[in-house]
């Protein structure tokens, strides 16, 4: 459905997206993972036909976004990073007017709006103006709005960033339902848990490049070990102790606040550390995640910078 080849966006001297390749198939939930400034949103906007590419090929449903913008956007539902609901209108009016932008008739929109209000759990808020909604409600409205034209591809740019945990879980539940229904989703995120929950396949982006591609599980298998031991000795002692325990796992990573030991068997490795006479202030054994993949690939954590 989407195909990018050598896709590049330059702003003057700065290259935001540097020759990336990817394909998205129908019914797939595709993730773009990376820290802030990696080029995720720029890529999203190029797919959404609201930003022209500098070079490379990009087709969406067989169309070229630089020539057929409105025709491509007709097929898309867009959830931008920052909500841009219309503050002069109520919840219901927002959905109605947005549908009118797509040229949809009232007879189609009336039942559709009811469906979407139920989907977004905003039935009680239909006549409320936007300013009176909570952050989670605004986000759900933006997603409902993106579905008004029954789109073939739903584009979600950082869908849950800035929401409290409860609101995030409600939203994930809604998005997961869409995925189960077979929707094609394109999701950007810098939250690992979000990518693991929502994405069938993803690319990891860093500084405008794709640094890895695969399913969440295959990426973890390829770039991380099965388990991770996190130990903290206090920030001044971490660097000092790290070389003395690094050989216990397959690989070690030293962060300012903690040491990560990548290993197949976490508990045993932790015992090995203790057996060498080191007693960490805190320790944690956990399964590897995409966070570790990112750290391995870029040497930085996602929350950095």
């Amino acid at each position: 459905m989407i195909s990018a080849n050598g896709l590049t966006k330059r702003y003057g001297d700065f290259t935001a997206v540097d020759g990336i390749d990817f394909e998205v198939a129908r019914g797939e939930s595709f993730g773009i993972l990376g820290p802030n400034g990696a080029g995720k949103s720029t890529t999203m906007r190029m797919i959404a036909a609201t930003l022209l590419r500098t070079s490379g090929d990009l087709t969406i449903l067989g169309k070229d976004p630089s020539r057929e913008g409105p025709a491509i956007r007709a097929h898309l539902g867009v959830v931008p990073q920052q909500d841009n609901n219309d503050a002069e209108l109520t919840v219901r009016e927002n959905l109605y007017v947005y549908g009118r932008y797509f040229g949809l008739p009232r007879s189609y929109l009336k039942p559709r709006i009811e469906e979407l209000l139920a989907f977004a759990q905003l039935e009680d808020k239909r006549d409320t103006k936007i300013d009176a909604l909570s952050g989670g409600m605004k986000r759900r409205l933006t997603i409902a709005r993106g579905l008004i034209n029954d789109p073939e591809i739903l584009m979600l740019d950082e869908p849950t960033t800035g929401l409290d945990p409860q609101a995030r879980h409600i939203l994930w539940d809604r998005l997961f339902r869409l995925k189960e229904d077979g929707a094609t989703l394109v999701v950007t995120t810098h939250h690992m848990d979000e990518a693991e929950q929502l994405c069938d396949r993803l690319v990891v982006m860093d500084r405008g490049h794709v640094v890895a591609e695969g399913t969440p599980a295959s990426l973890i298998r390829e770039y991380a070990s099965k388990e991770v031991v996190e130990v903290r000795f206090g920030s001044d002692r971490n660097a000092e102790i790290a070389p003395l325990i690094a050989d216990i796992g397959e690989r070690a990573e030293i962060l300012p606040d903690r040491i990560l030991i990548y290993t197949e068997a976490g508990e045993e490795s932790l015992q090995a550390i203790v057996a060498r006479g080191f007693s960490p202030v805190t320790s944690l054994v956990r399964r590897s995640s995409l966070e570790d993949v990112f750290l391995r690939l870029t040497g930085r954590t996602l929350e950095d910078e």
């Binding site: 409105p70 841009n84 219309d86 009118r100 040229g103 189609y108 579905l147 029954d150 789109p151 073939e152």
Partner: protein, 280 residues
């Protein structure tokens, strides 16, 4: 079912209907959807601001036409001896069309562009930049024209409408309002801070006072008259006043061409600017 599984939905087909026409990259044939948004927003949020617009020209008519007019007495214009109120009434109609159009196409547009992110939302749909430009300009035009019609009813009550020809000033007001909102939106789209919008007042107030509104342009020294005459409100006042008194001549055709030209320039600059801001 909330999403489409297999193929293009009926809704998507409607949304991309214009896809194959020439110009489909900038225009989807739906400026009316943008105007409908403005109408719903008016009902939900903006009614008070809208209603106050009717009052302003009436106040000027009372204060100047009847207050000051009592001191001025009659005035010799359009080849007739007119009361001062009758002289300024068509000019106030022209300027109320201008003011209504300018307000919506400048301050409101600036807000929607930079704070409300309304155009960003519109241009993520299958609307094109020309739809947004024409829709917003069209709405501002309606507002200006509505004020003109409202003001005309007031002047009729005061017995200031001389002939039935005056009804034709309504289409003239529509044209004036369209031109002013086109150029106003084009201007606004190039502004990068709210302070810059103050330039508007720098132009609007002098135009309102000196465009043949309150005294004939013939009172200026000879060299200044052509300079005044090419300014937009002077053109508008001249056009409305000659139609108002049923005087049709070649000058009217020039006025019409003048506003058509401004409209085309304003709408195309706006479209270009919206593309540069939101689709590049």
């Amino acid at each position: 079912m909330i999403t489409q599984l297999i193929a293009t939905s009926a809704a998507v087909e409607i949304a991309e209907r214009r896809g194959t026409y020439p110009g489909a990259g900038v225009y989807a044939g739906r400026p009316h959807a943008v105007m409908q948004r403005a109408f719903i927003a008016l009902k939900t949020s903006n009614m008070l601001a809208f209603l106050t617009g009717f009052v302003e020209p009436v106040l000027f008519l009372l204060a100047f036409g009847y207050g000051l007019g009592g001191l001025v007495g009659g005035i010799d214009a359009q080849g007739q001896d007119l009361s001062y109120a009758a002289f300024i009434a068509p000019a106030l109609l022209a300027s109320s069309a201008m003011n209504g159009a300018i307000f919506d196409s400048t301050y409101n547009v600036y807000f929607k562009m930079h704070y409300g992110r309304i155009y960003q939302g519109m241009l993520s749909t299958s609307l094109g930049p020309l739809d947004v430009a024409l829709g917003e300009i069209g709405w501002a035009m309606l507002r200006g024209a509505t004020y003109a019609v409202g003001f005309m009813s007031v002047t009729a009550v005061f017995g200031l409408v001389p002939t039935w020809w005056a009804l034709l000033t309504i289409p003239a007001a529509v044209l004036i309002a369209f031109a002013f909102s086109a150029i106003g939106m084009a201007f606004t789209s190039y502004m990068t801070s709210f302070q810059q919008l103050n330039w508007l007042n720098f132009w609007l107030l002098p135009m309102f006072l000196f465009s043949g509104t309150f005294f004939p342009i013939s009172s200026y020294p000879g060299w200044l008259q052509p300079v005044i005459e090419v300014t937009p409100l002077a053109q508008a006042v001249e056009m409305v006043r000659s139609i108002w008194f049923g005087q049709f001549d070649l000058g009217l055709a020039v006025n019409i061409l003048y506003f058509v030209a401004i409209s085309v320039v304003g709408a195309s600059l706006t479209t270009r600017r919206l593309t540069a801001l939101f689709l590049r």
